[in-house]
């Protein structure tokens, strides 16, 4: 990873006012993500995984620290960062195809140009539709292109949502528990689907999940965010930070990946991130942190 990171978080802190005081959520989160890297982010419920994602998305900029995406500081949402949520993943009034093509249209044309140059817009629209058809075909949704989101199954909806984000070719793709609402069979199918997408489009992905096995299966690297660390001093606990960061042992093929036995790693992650037997200060937890800058 000699080239500069796509995502570079530097001492990101986040807190929210609550009553007279504050809720401290994130404390000095530093994380660098390489190009085409798939990073799984795990952590206890409510530790601030979504909050961290929204800081990168630009909808909730951090109170201190910086977020750099492709070298530029992030202040607002933009087309260089794609997002897929667990729910509300698609625009309900557009068909699958229109949903996927929407980003191309919004990014490449403007309201005035669409109004005053209808001929050019019409040609562009056709081009975007063809590109969207192409992507949907690649992800195996050719037969469902003209359906509304309400006519698709949960799994199909998430596929379309991922296609919608991927077609923009973002620097980083942010996935906030995209499979969280699916049953286990669909979930497994979608995991394979995400791996296929990675093969096809090589995006950089930050993938939030609460399922440690899934994190290991999909990620090149697993990062644990947790508030369970011992804070020295009298100040109130400053919030969650990265307590675990490790590259997942490389498997040469998908078959290997499926066979791989992650039992020990799973145990290790559970111990350091979820319910540590005793709270350790950060510098001692640090033995797991391999790649933090």
């Amino acid at each position: 990873m000699s080239e500069s990171p796509v995502v570079d978080l530097q001492k990101v802190c986040q807190w929210f006012p609550k009553g007279d005081g504050v809720v401290r959520v994130l404390h000095n989160v530093s994380l660098a993500m390489g190009k085409q890297e798939v990073v799984s982010l795990v952590g206890p419920s409510g530790c601030g995984k979504s909050t961290l994602l929204y800081a990168i998305l630009g909808t909730q900029p951090p109170k201190s620290g910086t977020v750099l995406v492709a070298g530029r500081e992030v202040k607002t949402p933009g087309p260089d960062r794609g997002i897929v949520y667990q729910d509300y993943s698609l625009f309900p009034f557009l068909t699958a195809l229109q949903n996927v093509a929407l980003g191309l249209l919004l990014h490449n044309t403007s309201f005035p140009s669409r109004t005053f140059r209808p001929l050019k817009t019409w040609r562009l629209r056709r081009e975007f539709r063809e590109r969207a058809e192409d992507v949907l075909e690649k992800v195996g949704l050719k037969d469902h292109m003209h359906k509304l989101p309400s006519e698709l199954s949960g799994g199909q909806r998430q596929r379309v949502a991922i296609a919608q984000a991927v077609i923009m070719n973002p620097a980083v793709l942010l996935l906030d528990e995209p499979l969280g609402a699916l049953d286990s069979t669909t979930r497994e199918q979608l995991q394979m689907f995400i791996l296929e997408m990675v093969d096809l489009f090589h995006p950089s992905i930050l993938f939030v999940t609460h399922d440690v096995e899934e994190a290991l299966f999909l990620g090149d690297r697993v990062v644990g965010l947790s508030q369970h660390w011992k804070h020295e001093g009298d100040d109130p606990h400053p919030g969650a930070t990265i307590v675990y960061d490790k590259v997942v042992p490389h498997s040469s093929s998908l078959e290997d990946k499926r066979q791989a036995d992650f039992t020990e790693l799973v145990e290790e992650i559970r111990r350091s991130v979820y319910k540590p037997p005793q709270l350790l200060p950060l510098h001692e937890l640090g033995r797991h942190i391999q790649r933090n800058p």
């Binding site: 909808t59 949402p77 087309p79 997002i83 509300y88 919004l106 309201f111 509304l148 309400s150 006519e151």
Partner: protein, 267 residues
């Protein structure tokens, strides 16, 4: 028969429905028969033959060579449609902007909330004094009665649009204008349509009331004039035509909803 929400066979539904209408009709005919018995020239509860006579009378031209009924129909439906359309458009635009932009909401919510609590009918005389007997009087009373509540309800609907969809639009490269117009407006369009349908009743209410006291043509005016001379046979026909108009509007909106908001029905 008395089981809660237990479905009944179709024929029972038809029989019961027919029965209620037949009973009402029979009651009415009995009343009119009794009135006729007391005074053959009675016009307060006209019988069948009088009603038919009333329908014929509708299409007779008056001294000026105009047919009153058509003049009334034209005046009232124009006022109604213009009032409903204008108040829906104003409420849609203002409501969506208020729901999207907190500054716009902060500016408009207080006066709108206040106006929505005022009783439009009670304001009628104020408008009458201020505007006088002009077409704008009817439009103002309709706007005053509809716009505040409809705008606030559109605003609330716009605020219920999941913030995730707004954020996602930004991440797909949308400008704020595009988010408002292409996402929020599209999302609340079914609510706007529903609001307009629900408002069409009150619009007609305000309009007829205003016509009753301040018009020289229109359904409200005619009904008042005719009932003063006890020509109830014609009054009843006017009432039925009003009801039919309301029914027609309902069907129209339903068809519009089916074609324009297909995605919402499927949800």
């Amino acid at each position: 028969m008395f089981r809660v929400r237990q479905p009944i066979p179709r024929w029972q539904v038809v029989v019961l429905g027919t029965l209620s209408i037949a009973l009402a009709l029979a009651g009415y005919l009995y009343l009119s028969y009794r009135a006729y018995g007391r005074n053959p020239d009675d016009t307060t509860v006209p019988g069948l033959s009088k009603l038919v006579q009333g329908i014929r009378g509708l299409f007779e031209s008056n001294r000026k060579g105009e047919i009153d009924f058509f003049m009334d129909l034209r005046a009232t439906s124009l006022r109604f449609l213009l009032g409903l359309a204008l108040s829906s458009v104003i409420s849609a635009v203002l409501g969506v902007l208020m729901g999207c932009l907190p500054a716009v909401e902060a500016f408009f919510r207080p006066p709108l909330s206040f106006c929505s609590k005022l009783v439009p009918m009670a304001m009628l005389s104020v408008f009458f004094v201020m505007i006088g007997l002009k077409e704008t009087l009817f439009l103002s009373i309709i706007l005053f009665g509809i716009v505040p509540t409809l705008t606030l309800s559109v605003c609330n609907a716009a605020k219920k649009v999941p913030i995730q969809l707004v954020h996602k639009s930004y991440s797909l490269g949308a400008s704020p204008m595009e988010v408002i117009w292409l996402v929020v407006f599209r999302m609340v369009f079914p609510d706007i349509l529903r609001g307009a349908v629900l408002s069409s009743g009150p619009v007609l209410n305000y309009l007829i009331a205003a016509e009753t006291i301040a018009a020289d043509v229109g359904f409200g005016y005619r009904i008042r004039i005719l009932s003063r001379v006890l020509e109830m046979n014609t009054v009843f026909i006017y009432l039925v035509v009003l009801a039919l108009g309301g029914y027609l509007m309902d069907q129209l909106f339903k068809a519009g909803n089916r074609t324009l908001c297909r995605w919402e029905e499927k949800r």
